[in-house]
Subunit: 441 residues, 2 copies
């Protein structure tokens, strides 16, 4: 693939982007992206119809065009902790390594870590993500600059403490108000009750009511470990999904991450409420949670199942291509069936389902859809031969096959060049070094 535009020009263009001869499914198609940030044309006469008007023309022969991937569960700024501590028992890992560092995280760190996360996501074909962390105003700044799309939630943890709960109310409201003030169509706020074991029933009810009042989504962890289920039964007399439902947290705009220990009835409940599940296979394996999300039950119930990487402390990669393969492998292995989660379904989880869960268009390449799309080279060893594109995308390729990334009609990467990459890498590396230094003093 050769970009015929001046490299600088291509990153400046706001719409007016003509993509020629991309492979869409089994067909060769031209696409035109207008100033609206939408895909305005998908057809075979792109050069004739838009050749004169296009600010930028991209030759996409030897490329598949796909919707940008959607990562529905991460803690982006945790890139700063990538590889800081692995292979430890969970309690020791949290108390001795992760929490001491997180306690020293500043807003500037979250900005640097989120910039790095956005860079890594762009380089691996992700155009939208669902984030939960702290100092989220700084995360919003990073997302605004990076050009990617995100739904940001402040991680609400009251630990049953009324004083802490009040603070979490104010922090949640502050983020929602801050994001509204940005008036950036790429950035949305959600309410982020962390989990049933870290948020009181009162806190969960407030989160549900506030999300409803503001007309925004909810981002929550659900049934990641068996311990969480046991403790919830002991404390509340019901399993975690029922508790969330009792508090009003299961809505069509809720994303519930992990869902490893759901029973069949809980899958039906998620489906009935229209709540999306986010599968995080890599994190679940690395942290040895003991069970894989019951994908087949969720699917049979008609629930929306999406895909996430989780944060970099527990994965340690944000590459959604790798997450697609991990999902397909884990489902087959754990549920003991070679046919579970075939490649086209894994691809749909990472595109259509994710876009649906975050409410950002169809997650398909079609006229009128947001121009969130990627061009994936088929001219590489791992994509050769090309018997079935979905199989190669899910099982053979990585984010490294992505050549061009467009989000909201702007080119964020072209021929694997991301403007400003050097500064992002250096800034994050320095922030990570300084953070470890501070934690030792």
């Amino acid at each position: 693939m050769t970009g015929e535009a001046d490299p600088e020009e291509i990153f400046r263009a706001e719409g007016g982007i003509l993509i020629l001869s991309a492979t869409l499914g089994e067909e060769t198609r031209d696409l035109f992206i207008g100033e609206s940030g939408l895909i305005e044309y998908v057809g075979t006469a792109g050069a004739v119809r838009y050749g004169r008007d296009a600010a930028v023309t991209i030759d996409a022969r030897r490329c598949l065009v796909l919707p940008g991937l959607v990562n529905t569960h991460t803690h982006a700024a945790m890139t700063l902790l990538r590889g800081y501590a692995d292979d430890m028992p969970l309690p020791q890992w949290l108390t001795e390594k992760i929490w001491p560092l997180e306690a020293r995280l500043t807003g500037e760190d979250v900005y640097r870590g989120t910039r790095l996360a956005c860079l890594e996501m762009i380089r691996s074909g992700t155009t939208a993500f669902n984030d939960m962390y702290f100092h989220m105003e700084d995360a919003a700044r990073a997302v605004a600059e990076a050009g990617i799309r995100a739904t940001l939630s402040y991680g609400f943890l009251d630990m049953g403490d009324p004083g802490k709960r009040e603070k979490e109310y104010r922090a949640t409201e502050a983020l929602v108000s801050h994001v509204a003030g940005l008036r950036n169509s790429r950035i949305r706020a959600a309410v982020g009750p962390h989990a049933v074991y870290t948020v009181s029933e009162e806190g969960l009810c407030w989160c549900a009511g506030y999300a409803r009042q503001e007309g925004i989504g909810i981002h929550v962890h659900l049934s990641e470990t068996e311990q969480e289920v046991r403790d919830c039964m002991a404390a509340h007399g019901v399993r975690p999904a029922a508790l969330l439902d009792r508090c009003g947290c299961l809505t069509p705009r809720t994303v519930a991450a992990h869902c490893c220990w759901l029973e069949r009835g809980e899958c039906d409940l998620l489906a009935a409420r229209g709540t999306a599940a986010s599968h995080n296979p890599t994190s679940n394996m690395k942290l040895a949670v003991g069970r894989a999300m019951p994908y087949h039950w969720l699917r049979e119930a008609g629930a929306l199942v999406t895909l996430g990487t989780d944060g970099c402390a527990s994965n340690n990669s944000l590459d959604m291509f790798r997450a697609m393969k991990d999902a397909a492998l884990l489902q087959k292995f754990f549920w003991n069936q070679q046919t579970v989660l075939p490649a086209p379904e894994a691809l749909a989880m990472a595109t259509e389902a994710g876009a649906g869960a975050l409410g950002i268009g169809p997650g398909r390449i079609e006229t009128g859809a947001p121009a969130d799309l990627i061009l994936v080279s088929t001219h590489s060893a791992d994509m050769t031969p090309l018997h079935h594109a979905a199989s190669n995308l899910v099982y053979a390729s990585t984010g490294g096959c992505v050549q061009t990334v467009i989000c909201n009609g702007r080119v964020l990467m072209h021929e694997r060049v991301v403007p400003g990459e050097q500064e992002v890498l250096e800034g994050a590396a320095k922030a990570a070094r300084d953070l470890v230094e501070r934690s030792r003093s």
Copy 2:
């Protein structure tokens, strides 16, 4: 990293390669590779001592230097079947898809598929592999041209048929004689009794005797599925490892692939015989074999545990970086412990252990070792920050981080350029298309 040599010159150089300022563990080191194909110097005075004599100088600042990765179980030519059929029940997948295509494979196909496999391996940092397939004289031709190192075995399957067995004897002898005639130090032959369910006891005994007589290794599948164990008990009254041992197939030069269903006593037996196990986590998950190799038992017994990708029909990638992560994830998840197979052990499996199993040097960067090494860039989003190199290598990076690959003192890839790549890709793509075409007629 910038190669200061003329790009053409660097690929022509036979030794005389000076690598400056690479990161080796926690230190910065220069390396000099002589015409012998060995690492002749590791130290801090490379420029002073070898600056004048070097034919080629590589600036390796911002790069980790690692031993080349060793893939101890694959069927290289099956790259041609990559993505041809996935997500199907195992019997149907084999009988309707894989076997009909394999029946039509020609020697030229195996050459083309193995060239593609070598390209993919080089691009992802693998410098040696242990292969079992058919038309292996053509595989040898591909390996000779690609510059990589390989141990090649003809897949011996007699299915209990004496006539077929005789043919397998002759085919095995022919390959061993052919490889000896090549007089290429990078290419070795091994004997390849496929598995206990496809080779008669008589055939297994012949393989063991022939390998002993020729002083070469054995490559065999062992206890991949529970069915294999059950059938072996029914037919032979012992579990598969005991049967192989009874026939003399468990030797210090044997690589046993999969080993998923080993009992503790079988782990002790492998250790006692000095036999290497090859862990193939990705294939085992994709084919839903129901159990993960008992790595902790093998390790406690003192057995050599190595790493493999398996063939491209059941993985579908030959990237050993991904296999390292899959191994670490699967072991943690299946054996329900976050501390099993930490990153440094996964790295050692893919380097030292693999080199030891194939008898190709220490698999470490040290003076006198074969110059099979790779330079991995640390200047990328997925390798940032660099708290612990082993963690990033295993959990965050992919083969795409590899910048330079040297095997036997020759540069096979530099700055991600592999000479002749285009022809290999086109040849393999055409061979795969033609093969599918033939299978339909």
